[in-house]
Amino acid sequence: MKTIDCLAIANRGEVAVRIIQACKEMGIETVLLHSEADEKTLAYRLCDKAVCIGPSPVNQSYLNIEANIQGALSADAEAIHPGFGFLSENAEFARACEKHRLIFVGPRPETIELFGDKISAKKLVEKVGIKTVPGYQGENQETEYLIEECEKVGYPVIVKAAAGGGGRGMKIVRGKSEAFEAIESAKREAVAAFGSPIVFLEKYLDHAKHIEVQIFGDHMGNIYHLYERECSVQRRHQKVIEESLAAKIDDQIREQLLEAAVKIARAGNYRGAGTVEFLQQDDDFYFMEMNTRLQVEHPVTEMVMGVDLVKAQIQTSLDRGPLWTQGDLFPRGHSIECRIYAEDPYQAGIPSTGQVGGIYWPQGPGRRFDFGIESGDEVTPYYDSMIAKVIVWDETRIRAIQKMRKTLQDTVIFGVKTNIPYLLAILEHSEFVSGEMTTQFINKYFPQGLKLNQEVSLDIIEKLKSEVMSGGSVEESSLKNQLQKSPWSQNVWSRT
């Protein structure tokens, strides 16, 4: 029987912490493969062993296949978990792991390749009878020809990098006059980001919802679905708020979506955790892409389904199974996740870096905080600015929204600015609350982030200045007050 005594983590931040926690519970030792910039992080403090695999820039460390493999081998690891981002969807990396007899916690390299190439993925999906967004995905990549194809598809059209993901190399063309420049620009971005200029065209759906299905394949070939998530709140194709189940979806369409996702996973002989992304508009839904990894937003599924996807991934890589029976997998309540980015919401979201000061996570029932930094740690400009995720669960969607609002209001992060005010504004918006939001939501209502409208009482600044400066005696008196009034005495329960 396969076993893992020691698992290497080829990632950083909150997801590295997430994996370490799962391993600790399973009695597996962890090795953190980290860059020079990441010694002052929570993952570094929690792991059993740490190996520095290179300098801070990602291409010299987290994206360096050889350095990751050598790091894992040097620490006697038997497996590598790639997390998300970085090398998690890199077939070459999965293959290199196999070659060095390291277990890659993820799908087989062929599967990653099949779904990683958006064109081959679309072909497979169409073969099993699932609709994809109308478009062009041919070999003729001449700009003039692509413009002709745009005309056929009908505007608006979105140009996407074939090797892409995460919003880069994507351009929306609203009419013929913009087509040439947009296609050229998409090609340039595609080369810069993914090393390949190949693009494809898709009809741009302007009032669609982003619905994705969590699927899972165990080592015996059983494919499970763990219901859907909705991630319509996106900024520049990057998700900001996710939830499970979908905010508002027709039961019949849900059934069709779940069935379609399972079909696609089965056709790809899928193993491990994966996500099938769809765009749903009116009564139609279209396959967008399959992500062959753990998703950032996996916690909302864990909350409503009562599963641990990271442990399930590790068990699957050890050939343990079957993991569940589909009939036992049933969702309960509603879960929402907010991604906390270190950025200035009042300056169109420019990243905020520097040393983190005090942090306070307001713990409570149905609240979960996935984070990778602690007080005193540094937010560096080298990596994605997502520093934490706040996840809540409650019995209904409206209660979950109320819980999220209160949780974010009580969350304290000093030293770097965060998007919490931005998240709160979204959570207050009537279209979000109604569940009607589409992928256009942020473009429509918050295109420039927030306007500066913080209201600060001068009284408080004056009082605090003297208290913080004077120290000593004030602290004692406030401690006494803390005992008298804990935040739990505040009413956090919903009105509905």
Binding site: F414, S457, L458, I460, K463, L464, Q482
Partner: protein, 127 residues
């Protein structure tokens, strides 16, 4: 980071606060704010105090109501240079040094951001 229970504008509330370098961070009513100030360590001990910067910055976002001094005019410590309005309250921004008004970057009715430089005073060099 410490937590204080303070009476603010007549209401008792919890306030988290911390000084980080030149910035003063606090969290109350569901919002986090940071205000910049300048400090120096006195030679006598470790006490910090507000340094005389000669700069007048907006302590909070708001609207300029009055600019009381003209460019090149002499000002003395404690004299009001600018009156701004924020949260329906007027706030007098005073000179923290004695000297000459060197620059004014705002005029009446301007909206200003937190920390924005409004005016600067070149300090009179005498004992």
């Amino acid at each position: 980071m410490k937590r204080y229970f303070l009476e603010v504008d007549g209401q008792w509330q919890w306030v988290w606060a911390e000084r980080i370098g030149n910035e003063f961070w606090f969290h109350c009513n569901g919002n986090t704010h940071n205000v910049e100030f300048k400090s120096k360590t006195s030679r006598r001990g470790g006490n910090t105090e507000f340094i005389e910067s000669g700069e007048i910055k907006a302590p909070m976002p708001g609207k300029i109501m009055k600019v009381l001094k003209k460019l090149g005019e002499k000002v003395v410590v404690g004299e009001t240079v600018i009156v701004m309005e924020a949260m329906k309250m007027e706030y007098s921004l005073e000179a923290d040094v004695t000297g000459t008004l060197e620059s004014i970057s705002v005029s009446e009715n301007d909206q200003v951001n937190l920390g924005q430089l409004l005016a600067s005073i070149s300090k009179e060099e005498n004992d």
